[in-house]
């Protein structure tokens, strides 16, 4: 007799769902703690933290302003170069960016908590409800942005400020991109992602059309015809397959779909989760899926990654966070096949791996991890078909990324791209910088 697959909703009481998903992963600073932390900043000259920030926020300046209680000034120091300063304060891997560069880290292995200070300044500012940015006189130029994630909205915001009329299209129902659909819930509690979108759109001059997908409702050729410029910020909508047998067994699904469903769920208690969950992959998506399935009540969550801890896309900090939540991380193993009985998942067979001559290879030893649910997170990719298919002129795509000149210009005149669909760090903060830079390039090119 086949073992009953144990997958169920409502494994926890309401308080546990609240604790798991509605409480900030990092405790925000209050005024007193912010002042103490701000006082630790040396106000470096030529500060290494600034160099480490993809958006180049003047970190010593905003921290000094916090310390003098000029919180509005601090927030504007952040939001001027990075309109997603609020999201970045929550989701940036600061331990690999500004905080890793902090001279305090060199001095005492305890950097200034730049992320938390940025959060403090932006949170306080958003509480005021002020809209600090104004639009330049209208230029009469129309620009289409495809994708309402961080890259698209950062680009749209800058373009709107510069006086252009912007239309943002997104295939999903809501704007926000990964901030709305992809980031773990406990990193952006209290509906922050939508509040931030509202703040960004509050500058004016931006029309958002959701439920409009490129290749279905829109074509690049039509956009190029109808607009003065097009900014592609389509991200990586495709999910990489694991590529072993049994991937179609019920109970195996991409982690991004699981997370999106979770982020949009009105009632977490209605969301089914397996008793035993296996997550395949080593990036932040894998970590987020693993932690969130634990927090939905999965009794046993195992992440399996084919290489070692240092090779993981997820930072040490993220890995530790997952372990604290009771996630087991198994390194050096790759999936061989998904196993099922009568089409229902029973587990995953793995083969141990090792590095030989710089290449990863199976050792021949195999083992089975029983599972009621498997979430795959082995990478995402650009879906270029809707962009390039039937196009009059081809858009250059290399290695699954749209090719740009470093300022967002693609191989097509009047078409720009940025964010996860181009080469670079696949981070919110990089997407914001890409959006900002592409907007500046568009503006410069249009003004000639």
């Amino acid at each position: 007799m086949a073992e009953q697959r144990d997958i169920a909703a409502g494994r926890l009481d309401q308080a546990a769902y609240l604790a798991g998903f509605s409480i900030d992963a990092k405790v925000p600073l209050d005024q007193g703690r912010a002042l103490i932390e701000a006082s630790r900043c040396y106000f470096c000259y030529d500060a290494p933290c600034v160099e480490a920030c993809p958006t180049g926020i003047d970190i010593p300046s905003f921290i000094r302003k916090i310390s003098t209680r000029n919180t509005r000034g601090a927030a504007l120091d952040i939001l001027e170069p990075n309109i997603f300063g609020g999201a970045c304060a929550r989701v940036c891997p600061v331990e690999e960016l500004c905080e890793e560069a902090c001279v305090r880290d060199a001095q005492e292995t305890k950097p200034v908590s730049i992320g938390l200070l940025q959060r403090f300044a932006t949170d306080r500012f958003f509480e005021t409800g002020e809209q600090p940015f104004a639009r330049a006189p209208a230029t009469g130029k129309k620009i289409a942005v495809v994708g309402a994630g961080p890259a698209g909205l950062a680009g749209a915001h800058r373009l709107a400020r510069l006086g252009h009329a912007v239309t943002v299209y997104d295939a999903r129902e809501k704007a926000g991109g990964l901030n709305e659909y992809g980031i773990a819930a406990y990193k952006v509690v209290d509906g922050f992602a939508q509040k931030e979108v509202d703040f960004i759109l509050g500058v004016g001059g931006i029309t958002v059309e959701t439920g409009k997908a490129l290749g279905k409702d829109l074509t690049l050729d039509a956009l190029r015809r109808d607009f003065d410029a097009v900014f592609l910020a389509v991200g990586q909508a495709g999910v990489r397959a694991v590529g072993v047998s049994g991937e179609d067994i019920i109970g195996v699904e991409p982690a991004v779909d699981f997370i999106a469903r979770l982020r949009q769920a009105a009632d977490l208690a209605a969301l089914p989760v397996g008793r035993r969950v296996v997550v395949i992959g080593g990036g932040n998506t894998a970590i987020d899926a693993a932690i969130q399935s634990r927090r939905l009540g999965a009794g046993d969550v195992t992440m399996v990654y084919r290489r070692g801890p240092d090779d993981m896309g997820a930072t040490d900090h993220e890995q530790e966070f997952a372990k604290t939540d009771g996630v087991k991380i198994k390194y050096w193993a790759k999936p061989v096949r998904f196993m099922g009985t009568d089409g229902a998942l029973t587990g995953v067979e793995f083969e141990s791996t090792r590095i030989t001559g710089g290449k990863i290879e199976g050792t021949g030893d195999t083992f089975v991890v029983p599972a009621d649910m498997v979430l795959t997170a082995v990478g995402q990719m650009l879906v270029d078909d809707p962009i390039t298919k039937n196009a009059k002129e081809p858009l250059s795509v290399v290695g699954g990324r749209i090719v740009t000149d470093g300022h967002g210009r693609t191989s097509l005149k009047g078409v720009y791209a940025g964010g996860d669909c181009v080469e670079g760090k696949d981070l919110t903060v990089q997407a914001v910088e890409d959006g900002k830079n592409a907007a500046l390039a568009i503006d410069g090119d249009l003004r000639g």
């Binding site: 006082s39 040396y42 470096c44 000259y45 030529d46 290494p48 310390s67 001279v103 001095q107």
Partner: protein, 421 residues
């Protein structure tokens, strides 16, 4: 083991750490807690015609996360009656015979009044009196405190009365709110004072509330100037104590007051000529227990230096406390930056570049490297002072082979050039 026993102008205490006249020594309860904690002596909060104190009374400077870097008060002398204060003093002295109990006094400048109160004080068995000629606020507007201390003739006059009517040593407490502290110090000596103590608080306004537009501390929307003390005033105290010690020599006993929070601060006061020290703000900030490390730390440091008694190093900085024109014009130092210790904050560079001598590099071949350009460095210390890493920047002597030359002999002195021509 160092001997910390102190004989201050005939007043004996087991250690040189006394609590200064102020809120911590207002009544028997506090003073006995202080003695239990280990303090060597107290100056009982100033006794006189009782006053009424206001609310609030204190203000403080917080600097870069440090609370109470400076402190101010607008409190007056004791608001309790002379009788209650003197009765408690008598009781406390009886219970703590080995500790120094000195009574601070402030009454109007009339001899009969001083005579009367001193006769009462004599009955308490206290070890000494301290004449409060320093308080810069409130009392001075009534012709007492700093109003006396700022007029050398009054200082000498009242000191004489006190000496005449007191059976115990008389300490004159000096105000720093004068152009030259040597004049009131001379007046105290002229009045036959047994010792001086300084500094009292510095007349000041600690801050302004930008919402109410009231100076701080605020009393129902208004503020008046107060007396500044705490760590921030130590440099003012060291200078004035040093001036007096240099001028009057080691026979004039000085009780050092001003910004003493640690044994190190105390040792500096003593090196500049103080025979013992008084503490107030630090105790108000962190309680009486701080005296434990003051005693322990001073003792350990003295052992490490081979000083057996306090007198072994009292005033030892005074021979080196010279006037500017006696400094060596040929002494030369330059900054050295330890590249292994450097954390690349760039503060040395920007301080030198913006405000000093453009003597520190910023980037070399695109990477941050802060290095001293010797020919531009004047040895001012600024980079060393702003560097957040201990001992990362040091000042190194340049052996220029030139002899000690003071300004009067220096060929660069215009007076010498004229003479040569």
């Amino acid at each position: 083991m160092a001997d910390l026993r102190n004989n201050f102008a005939g007043i004996r205490s087991p250690n040189p750490f006394w609590l200064a006249s102020g809120p911590p020594t207002d009544k028997a309860y506090n003073v006995e807690r202080a003695f239990e904690a280990g303090w060597g002596g107290v100056i009982w909060k100033t006794v006189g015609e009782p006053v009424v104190n206001v609310s609030s009374r204190y203000g403080a400077n917080a600097y870069n996360g440090t609370r109470v870097a400076g402190f101010t008060n607008i409190e007056l002398i004791s608001d309790r009656s002379v009788e209650i204060n003197l009765r408690e003093i008598k009781e406390v002295k009886k219970r703590w015979p080995d500790r120094a109990v000195v009574v601070s006094l402030m009454v109007p400048c009339e001899e009969p009044i001083w005579e009367s109160i001193l006769h009462q004080v004599n009955e308490t068995g206290c070890d000494g009196v301290e004449l409060n000629f320093g308080c810069p606020h409130g009392m001075s507007e009534r012709g007492m405190g700093a109003a006396v201390g700022q007029v050398p003739e009054y200082v000498a006059m009242v000191t004489r009365w006190a000496k005449q009517h007191s059976r115990v040593p008389v300490i004159v407490k000096l105000t720093p709110n004068v152009n030259d502290v040597l004049f009131p110090a001379q007046a105290a000596v002229d009045g036959n004072a047994d010792a001086v103590s300084l500094i009292n608080t510095v007349a000041s306004v600690i801050g302004v509330d930008l919402d109410t537009m009231s100076p701080l501390p605020e009393v129902n929307g208004k503020g008046s100037h107060g007396g500044y003390c705490g760590p921030a005033v130590k440099p003012i105290a060291l200078r004035m104590i040093g001036d007096i010690a240099r001028e009057f020599g080691p026979d004039l006993r000085i009780s050092g007051i001003g910004g003493i929070s640690t044994w190190h601060d105390a040792a500096e006061h003593i090196a500049m000529g103080a025979a013992n020290v008084q503490v107030c703000t630090a105790a108000m900030h962190q309680g009486f227990k701080i005296v434990e490390d003051m005693i322990d730390g001073l003792s350990n440091w003295m052992d490490s230096k081979g000083y057996r008694t306090l007198d072994d190093f009292r005033g030892h900085a005074i021979p080196n406390y010279v006037r500017w024109e006696n400094l060596d014009m040929n002494y030369e130092i330059v900054a050295r930056i330890d590249q292994d210790a450097c954390i690349k904050c760039g503060l040395c560079h920007i301080a030198c570049e913006d405000t000093a001598h453009q003597a520190i590099t910023a980037r070399t071949n695109g990477t941050r490297r802060y290095e001293v350009i010797d020919k531009e460095c004047v040895g001012c210390n600024l980079c060393m002072l702003v560097c957040p890493v201990e001992n990362c920047i040091t000042m190194e002597r340049v052996d220029n082979g030139k002899p000690y030359t003071q300004w009067s002999e220096d060929p660069r002195n215009p007076a010498n050039r004229v003479a040569a021509e």
